[in-house]
């Protein structure tokens, strides 16, 4: 069998070689050179440019139609809603620019496809036009800058909420740990030299403020309607705390503490009933069924979003947004379960 395949391959190569010889020999016979672009070439390629433009724009709309609903659900945080609005405005702007300029480009390619009888118009410059398309983008971009920075300052400013919740996210290869400050409202200082099996987040055991800190693994809870201020640390390499449903992301860098704050607006229970989420989960569960996986319920997630080693793709933690009462109940239960303080 393989001998036949080998024979076929050899014959194919010989045939190809002979074909090339014919092409080369026939060069001398032709009037126009092979490489010269003829009127017929230009006509065909010009039309192909037009066809490509139509197919390209159709492809774009097909993708939007088919995949727009795979996007993340509307933001579940206060600032996230602002981001979503800004995003939509920007996307509309760039989509319009994308469609119009690509259309004009390929339309010109078609309309001005060359032929031996035509002559081009000698049009080297026009200062008014240059002004126009320098100033118009500049003005549009000014608006984008102003709004973007306004929101950025609000998002990045220190929290002034009186009832803020503080949570530390501690990243290491390859999992997350959440730490709460406990009744004193202060997180204990950290000291990486004191990391042990029990003290896996490296708390400074001499700091009294840390004695009532609470540790959570696998999942952590935050209350709806209260501002949550995350402080992030890392044990080994750069990680990134990515909480996409809340439009939140911040690198966790060894040697520094980084911060991000947001106020959740939908509890996990509410989110599960939200029409977009319901539709999204239906799609996900349909895909899962094809793979014989059981259906799942929606959950908020914390993912790692900075390359950090072989299990980069497998570092996640569940986030639960509780009502204020449920949150209090959960937090009090942790205290009972996992006291951390290492008595001196």
């Amino acid at each position: 069998m393989s001998l036949l395949v080998l024979l076929a391959l050899v014959l194919l190569i010989i045939a190809g070689h002979q074909l090339l010889r014919i092409v080369e020999l026939s060069r001398g016979l032709k009037k126009t050179k092979e490489w010269q672009i003829t009127d017929s070439d230009n006509n065909m390629m010009g039309k192909a440019m037009l066809a490509f433009m139509i197919l390209f724009l159709l492809f774009f709309f097909w993708q939007v139609n088919r995949w727009m609903d795979r996007s993340l659900p509307p933001a579940a945080s206060e600032h996230g809603a602002l981001i979503d609005d800004l995003w939509d405005a920007n996307m509309w702007l760039i989509t319009v620019v994308f469609i119009i300029t690509n259309f004009v480009l390929f339309w010109f390619a078609y309309k001005y496809r060359g032929n031996s009888k035509s002559k081009a118009v000698f049009y080297p410059h026009n200062n008014k036009l240059e002004m126009l398309w320098t100033v118009v983008p500049a003005v549009a971009l000014t608006f984008i800058i102003i709004f973007g920075l306004k929101y950025w300052n609000e998002i990045m400013d220190e929290s002034k909420a009186p009832d803020k919740v503080i949570v530390e996210l501690y990243a290491k290869q390859f999992d997350w740990t959440a730490r709460y400050p406990g009744k004193d409202g202060k997180l204990g200082e950290s000291d990486f030299r004191q990391i042990t099996g029990i003290n896996s987040v490296g708390m400074d055991t001499s700091d009294v403020a840390g004695f009532d800190d609470l540790i959570a693994k696998n999942e952590f809870h935050i209350p709806v309607g209260r501002e949550v201020v995350f402080s992030m640390r890392s044990r080994d390499v750069i990680h990134s705390a990515y909480m996409p449903h809340f439009r939140a992301q911040m690198n966790c860098v060894p040697g520094m503490i980084t911060y991000f704050k947001f106020k959740p607006t939908k509890t996990t229970a509410q989110m599960r009933k939200d029409p977009y989420t319901v539709m999204m989960m239906a799609g996900i569960n349909k895909a899962r069924a094809i793979e014989n996986k059981e259906p799942i319920e929606f959950d908020y997630l914390l993912l790692c979003n900075k390359i950090r080693g072989v299990s980069h793709f497998n570092m996640q933690m569940q986030i639960v947004v509780d009502t204020k009462e449920d949150y209090e109940a959960w937090i009090s239960k942790i205290k009972a379960f996992k006291p951390l303080a290492i008595k001196q």
């Binding site: 044990r235 939140a248 997630l301 072989v310």
Partner: protein
């Protein structure tokens, strides 16, 4: 008088150099002609062929990891055949090797293909030709620049075969991941070899760039004022300046990393516990690395893009039979992009934990850089308006470049806004953006350059039908690979994930991943058409005439033979700019730069 004496000697000196040296004292051996050549034309071919080989390697790597992403856990004989039992056991890609492939793919494509292959090839080929010089200012430094590039490529490829695997911390190699061998196997010998390779690459790049700058400033032919230079030369000149100013910073960045890795310093390291013990290093910051890296990293992408844009200017003007629209504005845009590229690097760092105020500054400067980029795109389109477009394969790729420059550029506006970047940083939205501007736009510029200047490089013509086929397969498949990635980013899919099946929230994205991979495979196979056309035509292509595209620039006035010194007699004298296409009152639709101005005729490069 002293001045007359000097002028007299100077004139004699110039006349002496205007005639090429007699060849009897210049006997070339095989080694000096083909291996250690100091002729810019040979060196450009060397750069091109090395870059093509590197591109084949990097593209194959991308097919391997795309197959893993579309069909995780599926067994592929292809993967086992290429990676062996260690990294491709049972035909499944090993997770460590996944990160290694992603890293080396990025490194090769950005540096070796799009910097070495674009600047190295076309700056070398075109600068002496288009300014009317015999060769580069220093043929020796030029030769060294290629051989350092070759050694650097060899080391990078060798690093792929070592036991612990090549560098795996992403092409951006952030520490501590890249500094600590305990963090990932690729950070052992693999990372050391990567740093060695890049250090040598930087030397190669600097040697080349210095040469290009000096040549353009000093060796222009008589009459070739700066405002008569073709836009390709302007682009190569500014690119070279960017390189000279920014690559040394990468060198320093890499050097500090070498110190941290080998000499127990703490430039980038502090408060680390790994491998079961706390490390001694205190006081350093990974954010320092990020600043130093991106100080090069951002100009680097313009080092990649500007030559492609310069090539596009030439190809579009020549093929539309029209002057490039807004020559002065195009020069201004190149200068503006060049300058601004130095003050935007922080937009890669919005989520690093750096001071948010600093982030705001970079939002402002990054959005500014959109303006000259937009001007260039609009000028290309206006050049085609009312043109008489000749669809050479080069022109088609140039049109593809403009399309993808716009498509990729507009998503850059989203990413430039730090607020919007919060949710798409390090997701596939970013991957889509930079691949469309680099893996479409820049590489299309490279293809356009190859198709357009192949006659000058190899004295033969490429096959046009294969060129058409190559173009259509490439543009359709390339968009098919990278456009869907925007939607993955909108769904929150992070970069550099070995698989998405660990996250139920991504279970409904399998079909998108499959379409991406299938288009990638077809697109990769389609490049075979180009490779065949390219290599076949070098040896058996139809012999090229002197000026196949009826272009104006000086390279088309040299005879069709590879002679040392380019012009057999006197160097050409330039009388006009490069863009007198379809000028009214002229017999033909092009007027080469060497044709003197008629009585009362104005030079386009003068106003």
């Amino acid at each position: 008088m002293a001045t007359t004496l000097n002028t007299g000697l100077e004139k004699e000196h110039l006349e002496h150099h205007a005639h090429v040296h007699d060849h009897d004292d210049h006997h070339e051996s095989f080694v000096s002609k083909y291996v250690f050549s100091m002729d810019h034309k040979m060196i450009s071919r060397q750069f091109l062929i090395t870059a093509i080989i590197m591109a084949i390697v990097a593209m194959t790597m991308s097919i391997i990891f795309r197959m893993q992403l579309a069909w995780p856990g599926e067994k592929f004989g292809f993967i086992n055949a290429l990676l062996g039992d260690k990294w491709g056991k049972d035909g499944i890609l090993d997770p460590n090797m996944y990160l290694a492939l992603v890293t080396i793919h990025g490194t090769i494509m950005v540096f070796f293909v799009l910097t070495g292959g674009l600047s190295g090839t076309f700056s070398n080929l075109l600068i002496p030709y288009q300014i009317g010089a015999r060769d580069m200012a220093s043929g020796f430094l030029n030769m060294l620049s290629y051989w350092f590039f070759f050694v650097s490529s060899a080391i990078m490829l060798t690093s792929c075969f070592i036991d612990d695997g090549p560098a795996s911390a992403g092409w951006t190699i952030y520490p501590p991941l890249s500094a600590l061998p305990e963090a990932i196997p690729g950070s052992k010998l693999g990372m050391t070899l990567w740093l060695a390779s890049m250090a040598i690459f930087i030397v190669s790049s600097l040697l080349g760039s210095l040469n290009y700058i000096i040549t353009v400033i000093n060796l222009r032919a008589k009459g070739m004022t700066m405002t008569r230079l073709p836009l390709s030369i302007w682009a190569f000149l500014i690119t070279a300046i960017l390189g000279v100013l920014s690559f040394p910073v990468l060198f320093s960045c890499a050097l500090l990393l070498i110190f941290d890795r080998s000499f127990h310093t703490s430039f980038y390291l502090s408060d680390i516990y790994i491998g079961g013990r706390p490390l001694d290093n205190v006081g350093g910051s990974p954010v320092l690395f990020e600043h130093l890296f991106w100080f090069l990293g951002h100009p680097e992408v313009y080092i990649v893009l500007l030559p492609a844009l310069g090539i596009a200017s030439e190809v579009i003007a020549t093929s539309s039979r029209k002057p490039i629209f807004g020559y002065r504005a195009m020069i201004g845009s190149i200068l503006a992009i060049g300058f601004l590229s130095f003050i935007v690097w922080g937009h890669h760092m919005f989520m690093t934990g750096m001071n948010p105020f600093l982030g705001s500054v970079f939002v402002f400067t990054t959005l500014l850089i959109a303006i000259p980029s937009a001007v260039k795109a609009f000028n290309y389109i206006t050049t085609m308006w009312k043109g008489n477009i000749q669809f050479t394969p080069a022109m088609m790729f140039a049109i593809g470049l403009v399309s993808s420059f716009i498509t990729g550029g507009v998503t850059g506006i989203i990413l430039a806004d730090s607020t919007l970047d919060i949710n798409v940083h390090d997701t596939y939205f970013v991957v889509a953006h930079f691949h469309i501007v680099m893996g479409l736009s820049a590489i299309f510029g490279m293809f356009a350059g190859v198709y357009h200047w192949f006659p000058k490089m190899f004295l033969r013509m490429m096959n046009k039908k294969l060129g058409f086929a190559h173009f259509w397969i490439t543009i359709t498949m390339a968009y098919g690979v990278f456009f869907p990635m925007h939607f993955l980013g909108l769904a929150g899919v992070p970069r550099r994930y070995y698989t998405n099946s660990n996250f139920p929230m991504f279970d409904n994205l399998v079909d998108i991943n499959e379409i991406v991979t299938i288009c990638a495979i077809i697109g990769a196979l389609g490049q075979g058409i180009f490779l065949f056309n390219f290599f076949y035509s070098i040896f058996r292509g139809e012999k090229a005439p002197q000026n196949p595209w009826n272009a104006n620039t000086l390279e088309w006035t040299t005879p069709m033979a590879n002679i040392h010194g380019n012009w057999p007699g006197e160097l050409p004298t330039v009388h006009r700019w490069a863009y007198d296409y379809s000028k009214p009152g002229k017999e033909k639709d092009f007027v080469p730069q060497t044709v003197p101005l008629e009585e009362g005729e104005e030079d386009g490069g003068a106003h």
